[in-house]
Subunit: 415 residues, 2 copies
């Protein structure tokens, strides 16, 4: 038996943690109040570390929007000057127990959902999903985008905070297990998870006794965005990942993320080290009027959902996603099911009814990826390179093999 088929006791330990991790949504707080190391002059971004001058245009645009939003710059032009001045620090959200979709920009005063893993008390922090189209996470930074971010911070946040106090913790593990029974893969398709979350939280919004129009607007904001739950799915997966990383052993991938220039992964036994490869543009489904030449390469922290066995790993649970990301249902499921060749096993609680309740393939094993030559798949949204445009497509792509060969070298060097 080759080494790639032997699962080490350490990796089994890490995989057991992945399955037993149990995150709940416990609140929403200002980033600066809860994210470790957060400061006003620190901006978190998606993917592995990257300097301002190497960043993708969509990420730079999102950061400039964030600087104006924070009042650190008066205009987008001033923000560009400030960002390049060295007075602002940039760091991966993943290095601060946080994560963000697409550009993944989190600034000090943004509210972030807090997911707590209940065995460990470890907490993950993720910003509120703004909706599709023109949104900061896609690099849009116009007045309407900033105005919505201010509304989220000044009006939505306190109301959501009181609603969550009234509702008490929301069991995210159970919510995701149920969403898999309702046609979501809980990365690019969150329709059912969003509807159920809405159903769980709406009575608590009413119980805040806030002015009717404020409650109604907040509910319409959540209900109007089929991807609202994505923030919570990311927060859940990041909390799982923190719990796996805490054990400090095993060859399991704990993070996959892109910054639009490079894709990076992390491994359970290798701490916060990033192993990177070049980001690329996938063969995805572009919205009408857009194409690959306009696309930002792989960007975002939301691939943390694939890291635990959801998203592209769970497409058999979500056949209707084919309308959004392209391909036939059979093709999508066949590609997704190949992930069983590079994973440690079936997740014990995330199951797919259509496969006779088989668990999703979970626990990406660095050694299996390299020996099989099969890269993990990720579902992704595509941001335009042109600042202000927003999302221009969605689809499935592969994480660069270079990430895994680099990680394997580090594992072997240590052995």
């Amino acid at each position: 038996m080759s080494s790639s088929n032997v699962i080490s006791p350490d990796s089994s330990t890490a995989f057991a943690r992945l399955c037993e991790a149990h995150p709940a949504l416990v609140g929403i707080e200002r980033a600066v109040d809860v994210i470790p190391g957060m400061r006003r002059d620190l901006i978190l971004h998606a993917g592995p570390p990257i300097d301002w001058n190497r960043m993708a245009s969509a990420m730079r645009a999102a950061i400039c929007g964030g600087l104006v939003f924070e009042g650190l710059a008066g205009t987008i032009e001033e923000a560009e000057t400030l960002a390049a001045s060295g007075k602002i620090e940039f760091a991966p959200a993943h290095d601060h127990a946080a994560a963000g979709a697409m550009a993944g920009v989190i600034t000090a005063s943004m509210p972030v959902f807090v997911a707590e893993e209940k065995n460990s008390g470890l907490r993950a922090h993720v910003s509120v999903n703004e909706g599709l189209g023109k949104a900061l996470r896609f690099g849009a930074n116009g007045p309407d985008v900033l105005e919505r971010l201010r509304w989220i911070r000044d009006d939505f946040f306190p109301l959501m905070q009181r609603a969550l106090e009234i509702s008490g913790p929301i069991n995210l593990k159970q919510a995701i297990a149920e969403a898999l029974r309702r046609g979501d893969e809980v990365h690019n398709r969150n329709k059912s998870a969003t509807s159920q979350f809405f159903r769980d939280i709406a009575p608590a919004f009413v119980a805040t006794h806030a002015p009717y129009d404020q409650i109604e607007k907040a509910l319409r904001f959540i209900g109007g965005n089929d991807h609202f739950f994505l923030s919570l799915s990311i927060a859940h997966a990041k909390a799982v990942s923190l719990y796996v990383e805490q054990c400090g052993v095993g060859d399991l991938v704990t993070v996959m993320a892109g910054n639009g220039v490079e894709v990076g992964i992390r491994v359970a036994s290798l701490g916060n080290q990033w192993f990177t490869g070049p980001a690329n543009v996938a063969d995805v489904k572009f919205f009408d009027g857009h194409g690959a030449e306009e696309a930002t390469p792989t960007m975002g922290d939301s691939y943390i959902t694939e890291s635990i066995g959801l998203g592209a790993f769970a497409l058999a649970a979500a056949p209707a996603i084919s309308a959004f990301i392209g391909g036939t249902v059979d093709q999508l499921i066949a590609r997704s099911e190949r992930m069983r060749e590079i994973t440690m096993g079936e997740h014990t609680e995330f199951r797919i009814p259509a496969l006779g309740y088989k668990g999703v393939p979970s626990g990406i094993d660095v050694r299996k990826v390299v020996s099989s030559g099969i890269s993990p798949l990720i579902n992704t949204g595509i941001a335009s390179r042109i600042p202000g445009v927003g999302q221009i497509g969605a689809g499935m792509q592969e994480v660069p093999m270079a990430c895994f060969t680099a990680a394997l070298s580090a594992l072997d060097a240590r052995a």
Copy 2:
């Protein structure tokens, strides 16, 4: 080619109507104000016509509860005397453009959802789902059951009415098509449809500016019942059925319903005639502590959902229902897919992603049922024979072949 494989032009006309029918939820009204022929001394029930003295115990118990609810009797005992006196008329809900789950009892002051078919303006009327367990539709008639019915009438109804005025019509055809993409078969599994309906209507409840506690209670009532949407699925299917019946031609089944003693069907070209066979107890999954000896035979109007291709005909859309009704996923889907042998074709808009977007088998052809010997399947809930107990199981069963042979005789006699 045998006659059973030839689809007549008349049947094609009826089937086209089945697919093009387009019901929307347009409101909620008191039964006596909108149901044709409704009076205070008329009680509607599920299934084909039946006299009081032949009724199943669960239906009698539900009727007695209804008489007390209407103030026509002071106690259940008085209600039994009144019901047997000849002073109260009983009629199938289906004969009054209405339908009800299980016992299907509708009395004059009960609020009913109104679904309007938009090509014709035809309207169907269905009472509000009370929740699982002890409920009037299962023959429970204790003080708690009647108290909840009063709350539904006196508090929930006016609030829901205002909310629907604010929201405007809700497209039920689209809601059901989407629910099939979210793991519901929209008869015994309505979790996703209920969540989405909740998401659609909750902001309108807030916009009524009714007292907060009333809104919160109403939302918790809807949100607390995974089967809430069943009423709307029945209303949708009944409106479709009315539109098919209006064309007056074809060998398509338009109604299948049971009263706990007999099961009856109706056929597009044969108007309001019922063709019946004996109701029986299916091999279903009983809740702990209950068994077949306690079960009421086939009862309810909700099989109108199977009549248009949902429920047991659409199990491939809802593999997770196996946990509720028993059987393996593969077995359930194989049984469901056999319905293609007795139907006119695929529904043009109700599609199943997991089958590569194939339409559900739809338009039950009386001639195909008889020539193939395959009876239509129905998903069902099981009411206890013991008044007050409520639901004791759920599962799948067959409609008696006698209904179809009787209908075929009538079709042939007319030809």
